[in-house]
Symmetry: C2
Subunit: 213 residues, 2 copies
Amino acid sequence: MVDFKMTKEGLILVVGDYDSLESALSEITDKLTQMGSFFTKGDEIALLVENHSKHVQDIPRIISRIREFGLSVSRILVGKPEEAKISSGMKVVQRGETKSGTKLVKKNVRSGQVIVHSGDVIIVGNLHKGAEVMAGGSVVVFGKAEGVIRAGLNEGYKAVVMAVDLQTTLIQIADRMTHEKGEREIPSVAHVRAGRIVIDRWNEVSFEEVMKA
Amino acid sequence: MVDFKMTKEGLILVVGDYDSLESALSEITDKLTQMGSFFTKGDEIALLVENHSKHVQDIPRIISRIREFGLSVSRILVGKPEEAKISSGMKVVQRGETKSGTKLVKKNVRSGQVIVHSGDVIIVGNLHKGAEVMAGGSVVVFGKAEGVIRAGLNEGYKAVVMAVDLQTTLIQIADRMTHEKGEREIPSVAHVRAGRIVIDRWNEVSFEEVMKA
């Protein structure tokens, strides 16, 4: 179910369609342990998860597992393993990790780039159309967000999505999704209330939980 | 140099003025190890660091050390140990820790409250006048920020400070400070460029480092 595929452009880790993430992760661990001596710390591989749309929310955890072995994932490929070419797919932007576990990205994220991080992601710049963020936690775009933002992939409904101009094509928080956008040029916050994603203006956010002082 | 002071309102950990943070931290460790059996996990103490203004940037690390022993710091006191009353000082707001190490605070932070965190802090709400954030990393206020923001206390000049309305009384990033504010109601980013804090509009941010794609 988990295997490497060698291409002339590099190595692809192919994770076949699965029912249980935990067992997929443990197969990845076994595979990487087996192949340990084959890799040098910092080597880059591509990742292809079969049935991508079903498993998209697992990708941060899969990538974190791979990173534990000192490897970095340079691209996420979409499609069938037999068709996969390493030159296609979304380029994973690795920069900007902070000590604290948040990813701080100080630049625009362009079409074809994807930021994958198991914690929170803060982008100081724009998220262009065709770019994507997959975050275990919350996502802040301190700029214009036109791409796809998937948040709460680890943390669930607590996660929030914020942008100075929230013109996303898709927002996902845990398993909820919306194609709604914020009002133009009004900083907005997307969050889950009563089981669905709502988008509030920055100065009118009302969370479901009552937070005590 | 490090000692507990008992008051009828609770216990205060008093850290005397020091030259080396490392030696102060190791004294704290020794003291808490000695007194280990005295505490129950989750007990709250107050913290007083002598010569507060000189050591303010060490406070997140001191608090993290204390938290390693299962204690929580409920207040930060300012003044001389002999005058310290536990009812004075800044109330440390503990809520909102995320798995990732970022602190996500979903409410307004009011006068007299302080958010202390060794990583990044994201506030969805306002930071009122008289409130303070001390962060090891970056700080996002997705609201109006009128209080004091100290960022980069661990991460240094890489840290940034952002708010939808940046009307702070003081911004500190590592050892740099400014009383300048952002333009009213224009989302703004404060960051260190050429050794000083500059404040840019959200859509005109220019970082010193050239980040490669």
